[in-house]
Amino acid sequence: MSKLDLTVIVNGQPTTVTAEPEAQLGSIIPKALEQTGNVGQPPQNWELRDANGNVLDPARKIESFGFVSGIAIFLNLRAGIGG
């Protein structure tokens, strides 16, 4: 299966990540963070969601989501510890 271009919106900033369909979705997180210069927090502190706000499981294979090339997914920093 050919590679997919995913548009990852990192805290509002779009970047394109090319990914292998057989790879886990979480594998795109470090690359998206590096491309957008978001280097201050480790990948596990970030969360992927689709356009409808559904949380995407980073452990699932990318091909299992049925993404088409160019689809936008959202990568946002978790709330962290508050209070």
Binding site: I9, V10, N11, G12, Q13, P14, T36, G37, N38, V39, G40, Q41, N45, A51, G53, A72, F74, N76, L77, A79, G80, I81, G82, G83
Partner: protein
């Protein structure tokens, strides 16, 4: 009013970049109920609506102050969408409750084990009294980093992660304050107004 000590051109350029990125995805954000109604450096005002409600409701306004960004994080206040005045703690339409820890099962007579659970909540909007303007208590917010209880978690530890970016902060407010809303909370208070005897005997 915060004094601007960072070169205003630098802060304003970073501010404009934030707004430009928001505008590029504005259609997407509007679907979630986010309306950017003011963006004049250093202030951003976004109204957050709940489109999942019928009829939809404007839940809150969110006002950012990006003075000295990003040497300092933005100030974030939940404000009345119509007047722009910051809510007092007792007026908040949402406390941005997050569920923390394990849901504790309660053993109550008449209920099967585990049927009743106590859900521990932590409000992300914090204040020491109901008459105080509450602050948004997460890293990336000026009021959080200025609070003496958070002196060990400085802004510099979060600055490079985008923690103070407008979309990131809106996303947290949306996730805890707007997205969980399912229905209106309607309270009906019946009052006894005497007896009803519609057909008195002749």
């Amino acid at each position: 009013m915060v004094s601007q000590y960072v070169d205003p051109n630098v802060s304003a350029a970073k501010f404009e970049a934030e707004i430009e990125e928001f505008r590029r995805l504005e259609t997407e954000y509007r679907r979630r109920g986010w309306f950017l109604v003011e963006a004049t450096y250093p202030t951003v005002l976004v109204l957050m609506a709940a489109p999942q409600l019928k009829p939809p409701a404007v839940v809150t306004g969110v006002r950012f102050d990006y003075s000295n960004y990003d040497a300092e994080p933005p100030s974030v206040r939940l404000v009345d969408p119509f007047s722009g005045e910051p809510y007092l703690a007792r007026e908040l339409p949402t406390s941005l409750n997050r569920s923390v820890g394990m849901k504790q099962a309660l053993a109550l007579p008449g209920f099967p084990g585990g049927a009743v659970r106590l859900n521990q909540l932590q409000p992300l909007m914090q204040a020491s009294s109901p008459d105080e303007i509450p602050f948004f208590c997460i890293a990336g917010v000026r009021e959080y980093h200025e609070h003496p209880a958070h002196s060990g978690d400085s802004w510099e530890l979060h600055r490079s992660s985008g923690a103070g970016r407008v979309v990131r902060l809106l996303d947290v407010i949306y996730r805890y304050g707007v997205e969980p809303i399912r229905t209106y909370n309607v309270q009906l208070v019946p009052q006894l107004a005497g007896f009803n005897a519609p057909e008195p005997p002749e």
